[in-house]
């Protein structure tokens, strides 16, 4: 009975948060459409379309992480041989797009001499989410912005370090960052899914995560995942 009650409360909170988070950007886009009806100037229209596009992309990312949330809650693991170099190449391709224009030094390293068995989808989700956070919460005022990703596979355990010299996390928030819909008081608004999804994926893979962060100096996440 208490389980039902818990599930019901969770569903309630979920519906509230999701509908609010989706309606925000949608009402923005609707307002923009109302405004567009009055615009004749092509340049002004382009400017508006640019901002609308940003909102739509943000909304799309939100829906994708909601989907991640859903798929992590169910389903069997699909075990394959993991080549971390392949995963990293893919992630570099995605994140160089955001690192180059913002003058971010992005370093990666992989040490893998043994077979590692795991489910590639939650594995990618973990690394990708932590990486996008590292880029997202960089300190815009710093000139030496950097993000580092180091992976080492040894004795059947993959240890992943993701380090940035970004804005850091308030000490009092460290205990809450993995909660669903928790958002730290930052200038960048998150979906509230990201780190919760990371944690769910790690529970599924029997892995572990530690965070070390100093406000204004940076954050390091250490992830350990055993081969299955």
């Amino acid at each position: 009975m208490t389980n039902y009650k818990k599930a019901y409360n969770e569903l309630n909170k979920f519906a509230y948060s999701v509908s609010h988070d989706i309606r925000g950007p949608l009402s923005g886009i609707l307002g923009a459409i109302n405004l567009a009806r009055l615009i004749d100037d092509v340049e002004e229209m382009r400017e508006l379309l640019f901002l609308m596009e940003k909102s739509v992309v943000k909304l799309d990312t939100y829906v994708l992480s909601m989907h991640d949330y859903y798929s992590l809650q169910r389903g069997e693991l699909k075990i394959t041989e993991i080549n971390f170099n392949e995963i990293i190449d893919e992630l570099i391709a995605i994140h160089t797009i955001s690192s180059i224009p913002n003058n971010v030094t992005f370093k990666t390293s992989v040490k893998q001499d043994e077979v590692f068995l795991n489910d590639v989808a939650p594995l990618k989700l973990i690394i990708s989410n932590l990486l996008s956070n590292a880029f997202k919460y960089l300190d815009k005022t710093k000139t030496d912005k950097s993000v580092e990703l180091n992976i080492e596979v040894k004795k059947g355990i993959a240890t992943i370090y993701i380090t940035d010299n970004g804005i850091g996390i308030l000490e009092s928030h460290l205990g809450e960052i993995f909660n669903l819909f928790f958002r730290s008081n930052s200038l960048e608004v998150g979906s509230g899914f990201g780190l919760y999804n990371v944690k769910s994926a790690l529970v599924k893979l029997n892995g572990n995560i530690e965070v070390n962060s100093v406000l204004h100096q940076g954050t390091t996440f250490k992830v350990t995942i055993p081969s299955i």
Partner: protein
């Protein structure tokens, strides 16, 4: 009717919403002075520094409610700490997304603050803005 000049302060964390609100205002009246803020703390800071006890034109604050760092509710609470002479130059109008799931108590709560004049539901339209301006004029 005489065209009274207003100043506007837009406080909204959404870049698109700030842009849309500003452009709508400019289209309705080209003579408006508009300042925009992506966070409420910075707006509060500016009002504090301005300390205009005898502002020439009334200032209307268009305030979003759901924002990071400082949300609209906290902004109103902080604003009420200003000297009444400062407060009387401003009028706060809440511009926010209302949904069937939003807590009606929250909206009711914000309206209990005397500095909050009214609540307008997003998305903004030309009609809503015209109604808003008429309402502001009748209140000044």
């Amino acid at each position: 009717m005489m065209n009274i000049e207003f100043s506007f302060i837009i406080i909204d964390d959404s870049e698109l919403d700030r842009y849309v609100t500003q452009k709508f205002l400019e289209r309705t009246d080209g003579g408006l002075i508009i300042k925009t803020f992506s966070n409420a703390t910075a707006a509060l800071e500016m009002i504090r520094e301005d300390q205009c006890e005898e502002c020439k034109t009334p200032i209307i604050i268009l305030l979003d409610l759901q924002m990071p760092v400082m949300n609209g509710y906290n902004f109103v609470e902080e604003f009420e700490k200003f000297h009444p002479k400062v407060q009387k130059n401003y009028m706060i109008i809440v511009l926010t997304v209302l949904s069937s799931t939003s807590d009606p108590n929250d909206i009711h709560r914000i309206l209990t603050h005397p500095v909050v004049n009214s609540v307008i539901e997003k998305p903004l339209t030309k009609e809503k803005l015209i109604t808003l301006l008429a309402q502001v004029r009748s209140n000044i």
